[in-house]
């Protein structure tokens, strides 16, 4: 896959600090984009690009925490790092609960800052890959017919063809045909692989956990 370069999005109302920190991040080899407010960032950001957000907690109008909650509701919830003049515990606890990657003082040691950004980007790309794979799997499962999905749900429960045929009131032979179609469409070789893939795609969350009755 040809992944675009991840970008560190820095959001701070203090332009002087914004310039300084973007210089430092660039000097450390990151790609940086700067925004002087949370609104500006939300309006300009690329809906599907890798990266992370480095935002000042205390900003007028929309502060860091507001930005965090707005971001989680989008299709591309980039990991967010907070910067603060001086950290106070209640705010940091809220930020971390909201899934903040880290919480840094503006004058935190450079290494700590760079490590935190690196970590955030790594997490971002990990989450991004996960999201991409899920999207791809969902697309694959999307090709299955209603009946095929019904058969699949019983297969992953470990039922035999005969049982499935009984459950659905169809011929055992028809079940076999469906299974062949499923494995072809989902490009899997074994039942084990099929089960893992189904689990990964996150379909049938309920039925997967239900143990077959009478066994």
């Amino acid at each position: 896959m040809n992944e675009p370069t991840p970008i560190v999005h820095v959001v701070d109302d203090d332009t002087s600090f914004l310039t300084a920190i973007s210089r430092l991040l660039r000097a450390n080899g990151f790609s940086v984009k700067t925004y002087s407010s949370a609104h500006e960032f939300l309006a300009q950001r690329d809906a599907d690009s890798p990266g992370c957000v480095l935002a000042d907690l205390q900003m007028p109008e929309m502060n860091g925490l507001d930005l965090q909650s707005a971001l989680t509701e989008t299709s591309n919830p980039l990991p967010i790092l907070f910067l603060t003049g001086h950290g106070d515990i209640p705010t940091s606890v809220r930020a971390m609960r909201g899934g903040a990657e880290d919480f840094l003082e503006k004058r935190a040691p450079q290494k700590k800052l760079v490590d935190a950004v690196t970590r955030a980007l790594a997490r971002g790309s990990r989450e991004r890959e996960l999201r991409a794979r899920q999207r791809e799997l969902r697309a694959r499962f999307g090709t299955l017919t209603e009946r095929e999905l019904e058969v699949l749900s019983l297969v992953v429960q470990g039922k035999l063809n005969k049982q499935i045929a009984g459950d659905l009131g169809i011929h055992e032979r028809t079940v076999k045909l469906h299974r062949t179609a499923i494995t072809t469409k989902l490009k899997v070789q074994s039942v084990a692989e099929l089960t893992r893939l189904t689990q990964e795609a996150g379909i049938f969350p309920e039925s997967l956990r239900t143990f077959p009755k009478g066994q």
Partner: protein
């Protein structure tokens, strides 16, 4: 008959005078009545005279009675009506006295050079003697004196009438004028031989005496009525006094009066109880002053002296220290009274106890102090927090720029333009940080420093009282040494207290760094030169490392693990805004001493 009547009246009014030596009008009236009686007696004698010589002799002596009659009536009018021109009175009396002298020096008497024979006429059914002879021309002097006397009396009566006292003018003035006029018309006609009747002036004068006697007895009745009223009002006065006493005792007021002339002090029972004197103990100023708290005695003296120089009234509050050691707060109002020459002669005062009120005031003051303390602490907290945020921006920018520049310089071919821009930004951010500090210092300077003369002992005392409980809880001995008679300093008490509070709390924090040993903070104030007061806060802590002495007043410089490093820099800003100086030094016996100076409040500032 008229003789005895006149004598009776004379006797009665003489008695009035005996009982009341100020009743001079009664004496004179008595004299009038007595003279009238004497003259009537002479007239009677003349009527029955056998020889011309006898007639002449009786007439001659009768003039003494006339003389005393005129003089006593002049005096009576002056005293009783309180009017009449003095020169007329003196003229009348002088002329009458002259005629009395002429009576004895010329002819047989004032009226006749010589009585040649006695005639007889019928008078009131009796045959009486009348004189015939050569009239004495000097008789005119006597008649002139009567005319002047009439004018005097008329004038006095008119004045009295105009003054509004019409009753007296009419009864006394009118009757005298009427009877005197009638008698002094009749007598000359007789003496000049124009009509032939006996001299019967006494009849008219008896009438006069009767009217006047009536008037005076009315006076006596009025006096007795007045006396009764006086008794009633005395009873009323007693009632008022009693009510006053009840009110005064009900209100817990003690009253005292100090007679400066006789050097005596009188006080009510309540006052004695208040000041701890028994009911019989003799009150002396020294003994009273002894009971006033040592610190309040001078103020009390000054207050009374000032009152004696001013309008006389004073109001003061002071403490009493009683024998058992009990302290009472007293509120005292008083007034100094002066004699005609403006010399103070009497001081009256009302005192009552206000201990409870004082305690309540003290408590509320403490409470206010604590609130103010909390307010100051939170104000400093907010200030520090705002400052930390504002300053973290430029400082953060400076740090990040410097770090970026370092990295750029590691490049084989560094972008010098970029580095130049970074350096410019660093400079800009440094200035920004500096502005934040300047603004904050300016804030303190400008913050409406409400400068006024401040009593140093009070200032220091209040702060020490404020932290006293804190010190006790931390087992720190808080000492206070304030020099006597310090002049007031010129400053804002609230801000200065903030500085003191900060220094004392710092001192106590420093003591905690030393284990064991003396735990003591001393606050002292003394004069430092003619225009400056120096206040020092010294502790028994470890002292300040010599290399840090110069920096401890810098912002954000702190030696405390959790210190903000703002207290001393704020203190310095405050002291400098007062045109004072603040510094720290280590004491030879150990511990640090923080000192600051303040200008004294000089007149005209």
């Amino acid at each position: 008959m008229s003789v005895s009547a006149c004598l009776t009246l004379a006797g009665i009014h003489l008695l009035v005078w005996v009982r009341n030596r100020n009743a001079w009008a009664n004496v004179l009236f008595s004299l009038t009545a007595f003279s009238t009686a004497a003259w009537a007696f002479c007239e009677l004698w003349m009527m029955w005279a056998d020889t011309p010589l006898q007639f002449a002799t009786v007439l001659k002596w009768g003039h003494v009675a006339v003389w005393s009659l005129v003089l006593s009536l002049v005096g009576f009018v002056r005293l009783y009506l309180k009017s009449g021109r003095p020169w007329l009175a003196w003229t009348a009396c002088g002329l009458r006295t002259s005629s009395l002298l002429l009576n004895f020096l010329t002819g047989q008497n004032l009226n006749y050079l010589e009585i040649t024979r006695l005639g007889h006429v019928r008078f009131l059914g009796e045959s009486v003697s009348i004189a015939e002879g050569v009239p004495n021309p000097w008789m005119l002097v006597g008649q002139l004196s009567l005319v002047v006397w009439l004018i005097f009396t008329t004038d006095a009566a008119v004045t009295t009438w105009r003054r509004g006292d019409r009753h007296r003018a009419l009864t006394v003035g009118g009757s005298i004028v009427f009877f005197a006029l009638v008698s002094s018309i009749q007598a000359p006609l007789v003496f000049w031989g124009i009509i032939h009747t006996p001299v019967s002036a006494s009849l008219f004068f008896t009438g006069l005496v009767t009217v006047m006697g009536y008037e005076l007895s009315g006076e006596a009745v009025r006096a007795s009525q007045l006396d009764r009223k006086l008794q009633q009002s005395e009873a009323g006065l007693h009632e008022i006094e009693e009510r006053m006493r009840l009110a005064v005792e009900g209100a817990d007021f003690g009253i005292w009066v100090r007679d400066l002339v006789r050097n005596e002090i009188w006080a009510t029972e309540k006052w004695r109880a208040l000041f701890g004197f028994s009911e019989t103990e003799r009150l002396e100023l020294d003994k009273i002053l002894e009971r006033i708290h040592r610190d309040d005695r001078n103020a009390f003296h000054l207050m009374v002296e000032k009152a004696a120089e001013g309008d006389g009234s004073y109001q003061t509050e002071y403490r009493l220290v009683l024998a058992g050691g009990e302290t009472r707060w007293i509120d005292s109002h008083g007034r100094v009274e002066f004699d005609g020459s403006g010399k103070p002669i009497l001081v009256r005062g009302v005192s009552h106890e206000i201990t409870e009120r004082k305690q309540a005031e003290h408590e509320s003051q403490n409470l206010r102090g604590e609130i103010a303390h909390a307010g100051r602490v939170s104000m400093m907290g907010q200030l520090a927090s705002a400052l930390a945020h504002e300053i973290s921006q430029p400082l953060g920018a400076i740090l990040r720029n410097a770090e970026a520049a370092e990295l750029f310089l590691q490049d084989a071919s560094p972008d010098l333009e970029e580095i130049r821009a970074i350096l410019a930004d660093i400079r800009k951010d440094d200035q920004r940080a500096g502005h934040v500090i300047d603004r904050m210092r300016g804030l303190l300077k400008r913050q409406d420093l409400d400068k006024r003369p401040v009593d140093v002992a009070e200032l220091v005392g209040e702060v020490v009282a404020l932290v006293r409980s804190d010190a006790t809880a931390r087992h720190v001995k808080l000492e206070l040494t304030v020099a006597d008679h310090l002049p007031p300093v010129f400053g804002d008490a609230v801000h200065l207290q903030q500085v003191l509070l900060n220094l004392i709390v710092n001192g106590m924090d420093a003591i905690d760094e030393v284990k064991g040993g003396d735990r003591r903070v001393n606050v002292s104030a003394s004069l430092d030169g003619p225009h400056t007061v120096e206040i020092a806060v010294s502790d028994s802590g470890p002292g300040v490392p010599a290399d840090k002495l110069a920096h401890i007043f810098d912002p954000f410089f702190t030696t405390k693990p959790r210190g903000m490093g703002m207290g001393l820099s704020i203190s310095r800003a405050i002291i400098e805004a007062h045109r004072g100086r603040i510094w720290a030094e280590n004491q030879s016996e150990g511990g640090a001493s923080f000192r600051f100076t303040l200008p004294i409040a000089e007149e005209g500032i």
